[in-house]
């Protein structure tokens, strides 16, 4: 019972990471495809400013996922990390290059340095979600089981390939939707349309890939196929489809805020559909939630940890997103960091205290 709750929390954390982290990776995707130094200058400028305050928070979701995995389902963690060695190791390296590339690009001023760091950031934004997706595909298609040793088969198979591609397309889609909204906030109308078009295009790609993936699972991951075409799983699939149409419609109309909600809806519903389809397994069809569950008292504590997260972390994350979307967060410019430069900025004011 508690194990099921924790498994559901794990699924929610995965959903949150797909949406928040995905948006982040997507920004990297559009950075990569933004074109040469001149042409890509404005999109990159937007990406820098939109991502900077939130990317670290978006990535903490992954840590949360790991903690729940190794504390709640130690055997599951052990199995996945033993079998998926290569994609996960490469994803880890990708994350280092991505984060460092992004931070250094913002901080460095020479064009050559910015280009180098920018390329690292963008390329690894593409590779990391692919490898993570491929690992998930290997799990979904039941290619790992307790004791499986690391081998290419575990993650180079039709389902893994489809999940990897789907991961890239999804991040691109989310990235474009959010960047389009950010462009509005930063008063750059041309970029609003720039990213709106890209959002539509990537939504189309996501839809096509999703349909292909669905049919790939039919033979390659029968348990998932069954789950996706019956019961709750089917419900979420339909929800995802409905959200897709709503998003497409909203993207064709004058820009607004709702499109973000439906876009997240598409992705969240799809992830939840996959999670529901896996029931009662963590790894179909060899490891159930009940079998993998850790000590009962630990699971109870994990519920408590989750509740506290809801109470203290949720408001904090919400505050950050709120401040960010209301344009309250802005990076310091060189002028602020000059001796008297800050006198012009409000940061300098001595407001009593």
């Amino acid at each position: 019972m508690t194990a099921d709750v924790i498994a559901f929390v794990l699924l929610l954390a995965v959903t949150a990471y797909t949406c928040a982290g995905g948006t982040d990776y997507g920004a990297g995707f559009w950075d990569l495809t933004a074109g040469g130094t001149e042409r890509g200058k404005r999109p990159r400028w937007l990406i820098d400013h939109a991502m900077a305050p939130v990317w670290e928070v978006n990535n903490v979701w992954l840590i949360f996922i790991f903690v729940i995995m190794w504390t709640g389902f130690p055997v599951f963690f052990q199995t996945v990390f033993s079998a998926m060695w290569v994609p996960l190791a490469l994803a880890a390296v990708g994350m280092v290059l991505r984060g460092a590339g992004f931070a250094f690009r913002k901080a460095s001023q020479r064009i050559a340095g910015r280009r180098l760091f920018g390329t690292l950031f963008a390329v690894s934004s593409l590779l990391t979600p692919f490898f993570l997706g491929a690992a998930v595909g290997g799990i979904a298609s039941g290619r790992v089981a307790l004791g499986t040793e690391a081998s290419a088969k575990a993650w180079s198979n039709p389902t893994s390939l489809m999940f990897g591609l789907l991961a890239i397309a999804t991040t691109a889609f989310l990235g474009a939707v959010f960047l389009s909204g950010d462009a509005r906030r930063f008063d750059a109308p041309d970029l609003v349309d720039h990213f709106r078009g890209r959002a539509l295009a990537s939504l189309a790609v996501v839809a096509v890939l999703a349909v292909v993936a669905l049919f790939v699972t039919r033979t390659d991951a029968p348990h998932i196929w069954h789950g996706l075409t019956h019961g709750v799983g089917l419900g979420f699939v339909l929800l995802a489809a409905a959200a897709t149409f709503a998003t497409a419609w909203l993207l064709l109309r004058p820009p607004g805020t709702w499109v973000r909600v439906t876009a997240v809806g598409v992705v969240a519903a799809a992830v939840l559909a996959w999670g529901m389809a896996q029931r009662p397994y963590l790894i179909p069809t060899s490891l159930t939630v009940a079998d993998a569950a850790g000590a009962p008292s630990t699971l109870t504590w994990l519920v408590f940890v989750t509740l506290v997260s809801l109470v203290i972390v949720a408001p904090a994350v919400f505050l950050l997103y709120w401040l960010d979307t209301h344009g309250e967060l802005e990076s310091l410019t060189d002028t602020d960091l000059r001796r008297r430069g800050g006198a012009a900025g409000p940061g300098e004011g001595a407001d009593g205290a």
């Binding site: 200058k41 505050l319 401040l323 309250e328 430069g341």
Partner: protein
């Protein structure tokens, strides 16, 4: 090569050596950033407070510049830390698979802390321009608490590995009846936690102050450098004597709770009373010690306040259950170096305090400033040494007396691991090199800006920096070359 060989037992799986090297390398790299991550926000907030309180624009400028450094440092800390989480699974699946539900929960606390820290840091860093000064400062205030909470999680996990508690083993040797409370608050937890927190404060303080000490030595003796030196150095100087005290008490706790590790740290071979203390020196597999300075009776006195105290020796347990001679020597050197650095830093802090107490000013001696400039590096070395002592001294156990490192290691082929290790070294050298380059570049840019202002030359108007495009100062920044 001989040493490499010595590090492993003969029957150890081939992948153990690369796995350990990889873990040690990534941890040692991450830990360099941790002091700044844990304590720089605190020091910056102090400076910020001073700026608001005394209406001192220089203090506010320093706080702003430090927060610009924090932005880059935090990013590198986050990514190198994420790698560590991956490595728990990639390198030590056996550890997590068997014990994850016993000690993993500490990381849950860490996850909250990272969330909060990431949120608060983002708000603090990006709030300077738009938020009301008071709101901005107040939103930054919980940062040190979040950092303490993060340290709580990690140290709980590590001290559990040193003194595992909170479970019983069933007939198959698997942990059951998990008691989380006991698993978190193990005997080593308290001493390790406080020793660690103070180490972080002290290290961050000396590192930051060191930057301005160098400036001072080069003749930059204005209010800006004075302030940039005094605030962090005072914080560190207060922390240093406390650390000596805490170091003494953690050593005694190791003596009581991990006697074999204590024997390694002090290279004690035979269990005995009236045990001498060796400063450095080298332990040989036959139990003899060569080199080093021998102080009769001292080890017994330090461990139990009397020369009659009995100290357990390495030879009291079978060879397979204790660190070998090379490992013991490594742990011993690391431990001694840490203690020496700690003691020297106390002298430095005393010097500072005495001059301040007698004359109400900063010391004038060049040697003080030279030492202050080196103190930062020295304390980072001490932190690294502390971890080497903890980790190598625990060998061959990953979970003290419950699981060997060899049982925890991944089954991945050693070739794969060596390749990965090579890749990680390349990536980390690049990342840390770039990190340093970025910091130096920032410093040069600020210095140039200060010089221009000082000379009354106009700087570019603020409009040039906003709203679009790369920063206008690209041109001016690439003009300057040398520091």
């Amino acid at each position: 090569m001989h040493t490499m060989f010595q590090l492993l037992a003969a029957d150890a799986p081939a992948q153990l050596l690369p796995a350990r090297q990889l873990m040690a390398f990534t941890l040692a790299s991450h830990i360099i950033l941790v002091p700044l991550g844990v304590a720089l926000p605190f020091i910056t907030l102090l400076m910020h407070y001073r700026g608001i309180r005394r209406d001192d624009p220089t203090a506010l400028l320093l706080a702003r510049r430090w927060s610009a450094v924090m932005a880059v440092q935090f990013a590198v800390g986050v990514v190198t830390g994420t790698v560590l989480s991956f490595e728990f699974g990639l390198l030590w699946p056996g550890l997590m698979g068997k014990w994850g539900d016993v000690f993993g929960i500490g990381f849950g606390v860490e996850a909250w802390a990272f969330f909060l820290e990431a949120v608060l840091i983002a708000i603090y860093l990006y709030g300077w321009r738009r938020l009301k000064p008071r709101t901005h400062f107040l939103l930054g205030l919980p940062l040190p608490a979040a950092a303490l909470m993060g340290a709580f999680g990690i140290l709980a996990a590590n001290s559990w590995m040193n003194t595992p508690r909170g479970f019983t083993l069933d007939s198959a040797g698997n942990p059951v009846d998990v008691n989380i409370w006991k698993a978190v608050f193990t005997p080593m937890f308290g001493p390790q936690y406080w020793h660690f927190v103070v180490a972080m404060v002290l290290t961050a303080g000396y590192v930051v102050a060191g930057v301005y000490a160098v400036g001072w030595l080069r003749g930059r003796r204005d209010h800006y450098h004075r302030l940039g030196f005094t605030v962090p150095f005072t914080v560190a100087a207060v922390a240093t004597p406390i650390q000596l005290f805490l170091g003494d008490s953690i050593a005694r706790q190791v003596f009581h709770k991990q006697p074999v590790k204590f024997a390694a740290l002090e290279i004690v071979w035979e269990t005995d009373t009236h045990v001498p203390e060796y400063l450095f020196g080298r332990l040989h597999p036959d139990g003899t010690v060569s080199g080093g300075i021998k102080v009769p009776q001292l080890d017994s006195i330090l461990a139990g306040f009397s020369p009659d105290t009995k100290v357990i020796g390495l030879s009291s347990v079978p060879e397979s259950d204790r660190p070998n001679a090379t490992q013991a020597t490594i742990a011993h050197w690391a431990f001694d170096l840490m203690a020496v650095i700690g003691s020297v830093l106390v002298l430095l802090a005393l010097w500072y305090a005495l001059v301040w107490w007698r004359r109400r000013r900063l010391p004038e001696s060049k040697w003080f400033w030279r030492s202050a400039a080196c103190a930062g590096v020295a304390s980072v070395v001490a932190v690294e040494c502390g971890w080497v002592a903890t980790e190598v001294g625990r060998q061959p156990w990953i979970v003290y007396q419950n699981m060997r490192v060899a049982e925890a290691v991944t089954a991945t082929r050693s070739t794969t691991l060596w390749i990965m290790f090579g890749l990680v070294i390349v990536v980390y050298v690049f990342v840390f090199g770039a990190f340093l380059a970025v910091l130096l570049k920032m410093r040069t840019r600020w210095r140039l800006a200060d010089a221009q202002e000082g000379a009354g030359r106009p700087v570019e108007p603020p409009e040039a920096d906003t709203p679009y495009g790369p920063r206008s100062s690209v041109a001016s920044a690439s003009r300057d070359g040398s520091p």
